[in-house]
Amino acid sequence: MDELLKKQLKITACKVRMGIIEGVYNAKCGHPGGSLSIADVLTYLYFAKMNVYPDNPKFAERDRLVLSKGHTAPGLYSVLAHRGFFDVEELKTLRRIGSRLQGHPVLNKVPGVDMSTGSLGQGISAACGMALSAKLTNDTYKVYAILGDGEIQEGQVWEAAMFAAHNKLDNLVAIVDNNGLQIDGKVSDVCSPYPITDKFEAFGWHVITMDAHDFDAIEAAFNEAETVVGQPVAIIQTSTKGKGVSFMEGQASWHGAAPNAEQYAVAMNELKAQLAELEG
């Protein structure tokens, strides 16, 4: 990846992480862990990959992103705000009465949100519907869906996986955020979804693995995805839950908990230090 672009993306991803912490801290609840683990891929998609139009968010030919793991809305909201869909200050209204920023994403309420999600396993079906829709009328937009590794325990994911391969939806890329943790603990202990790559391959997908926090790897994975014809693409990203905030990293307990004032200060200071280093 171009070094300047990489630097810009790292800076933006750091700001996106700050927006996540800001939102969850002000809401006093929410899901920081899984939001932080997808912050880099969201940043790459919205700042370097997808055709999106903050001034015309409903533009028909835009690329779509369905956050199938809808509980990580703080991550999506933060990247949308930083991309210019709405004011970054609004992130502080997360989960409040009167806010557009509902606990889980809502279509037609938040500019840039392409599908209502939150109930796991459903977003991937809607993403398949959008991709099929494009195929039926020869539209050129691409559809991205982000799933959790715990989420793929939902049976509907595999109904959708079968459907996508059967219909040769090569305009669809599903990213599985393999941070290894879900609410009750390690995914491998709760009800193992492994081997994830083999499962998607068996369902007829082209599978790519990538390091979720390395922009060179992210770019390479999405470039490879673009070359695939006749198959949907699954990118299995190895990620760290809570990435970027030391005390949240690799901890299932930060799946759905907000930092207190002290923890908030520590988290923001860490992120500010990272930002200063990047900008320095």
């Binding site: 028909a60 779509r64 369905v66 809502v106 279509l107 037609n108 392409d114 599908m115 209502s116 939150g118 109930s119 396993g121 459903q122 977003g123 991937i124 079906s125 809607a126 993403a127 398949c128 519907g129 959008m130 991709a131 099929l132 829709s133 494009a134 039926l136 009328t137 539209d139 049976g155 509907q156 109904e159 959708a160 079968m162 459907f163 059967h166 219909n167």
Partner: protein
């Protein structure tokens, strides 16, 4: 009326889709391996490129429909009522209802008249389930003419619709030349002032027949066809409550949460009166010929007559 033409509304559904496919290029039909039974196969024959078989995966089919609607298509997601409203309920609620997407759910084989397949396939709960979803329009047509009109009305309505169709061939009593479908409007089919029979689906014809019998016995029964269960035509119900004082509801659905419950909701808040509900009385059905089952479960003109007389203490 023995010579009246009979037709199952599922046939009407498939034929209407095939007819309207040319007029509405944005119309797509999804099915879950039941195209021969839901009759969407008729559409598939006419428009093979616009018919998508999702396989036996109703939950995913509803999500596919949601995604298609989110990108501007008008999808009709078709399956048996049991699976469309039952199995896929939460997907219909969260992926279609919550974002208020323009998905049409074509649910066939509703009610006990599925017949021989038995209780696992006899869905008497779908209206109740769909009524709880904010913004969901529910249409339960009474015959072939109404069913065809309902399909086009659903296309013209922007928002999620649940259309309920039957497997059993039932009398075609509406005149296709003069019939006009108005979404959300009840239809008064017979005037009367002693009692009002409010019916939906295949019970509408039975209600008409019951009113004729009652007339012969000196009871003047008003008959109202409620094809749109949600939004309900409150006005026609309140008027009937005020003018006739007693209401008997009739539906091929559980007495819990269906048309009868909807009528009670309106009447109790606006003009309390006696309401007696005819429906499936909180029991599962069983296998058997549809017509015999309808009689056994009291979903017939004879039982409407009997219930009306009891309600009037006559």
């Amino acid at each position: 009326m023995a010579d009246m033409i009979k037709k199952a509304t599922r046939e009407s559904y498939g034929e209407a889709l095939a007819e309207l496919g040319a007029k509405y290029e944005n119309l797509y039909v999804l099915d879950a391996d039941l195209a021969a039974a839901t009759k969407t196969g008729v559409f598939k024959k006419a428009f093979p490129d616009r018919h998508i078989d999702c396989g036996i995966a109703e939950a995913n089919m509803m999500g596919i429909a949601a995604g298609m609607a989110a990108t501007g298509k008008i999808p009709f997601a078709s399956s048996f009522a049991m699976f469309a409203a039952g199995r896929a309920f939460e997907i219909v609620r969260n992926s279609i209802g919550y974002p208020h997407l323009n998905v049409k759910i074509g649910a066939t084989h509703a009610g006990i008249s599925v017949g021989e397949d038995g209780a696992s396939h006899q869905c008497n709960e779908d209206i109740a389930l769909m009524r709880t979803i904010p913004g969901m329009t529910i249409i339960n047509p009474a015959d072939d003419v109404e069913a065809r009109a309902a399909v086009e009305a659903a296309i013209l309505h922007d928002g999620p619709c649940y259309l309920r169709f039957g497997r059993l061939a039932t009398p075609v009593f509406n005149d296709k030349e003069t019939y006009k479908f108005e979404l959300g409007k009840g239809v008064q089919l017979a005037n009367g002032d002693d009692v009002t029979i409010v019916a939906t689906g295949l019970l509408v014809y039975e209600a008409i027949e019951a009113a004729k019998t009652l007339k012969e016995e000196g009871i003047s029964a008003r008959v109202i066809n409620i094809h749109t269960i949600k939004p309900l035509d409150d006005e026609i119900i309140i008027k009937a409550a005020k003018e006739t004082g007693v209401i008997v509801t009739a539906e091929e659905h559980s007495v819990i949460g269906g048309l009868g419950s909807a009528v009670c909701d309106v009447v109790s808040a606006n003009c309390p009166c006696k309401v007696v509900k005819i429906g499936v009385n909180d029991v599962f059905g069983h296998s058997g010929p549809a017509v015999e089952l309808l009689k056994e479960f009291g979903l017939c003109a004879e039982n409407i007559v009997k219930t009306v007389k009891e309600a009037l203490n006559k």
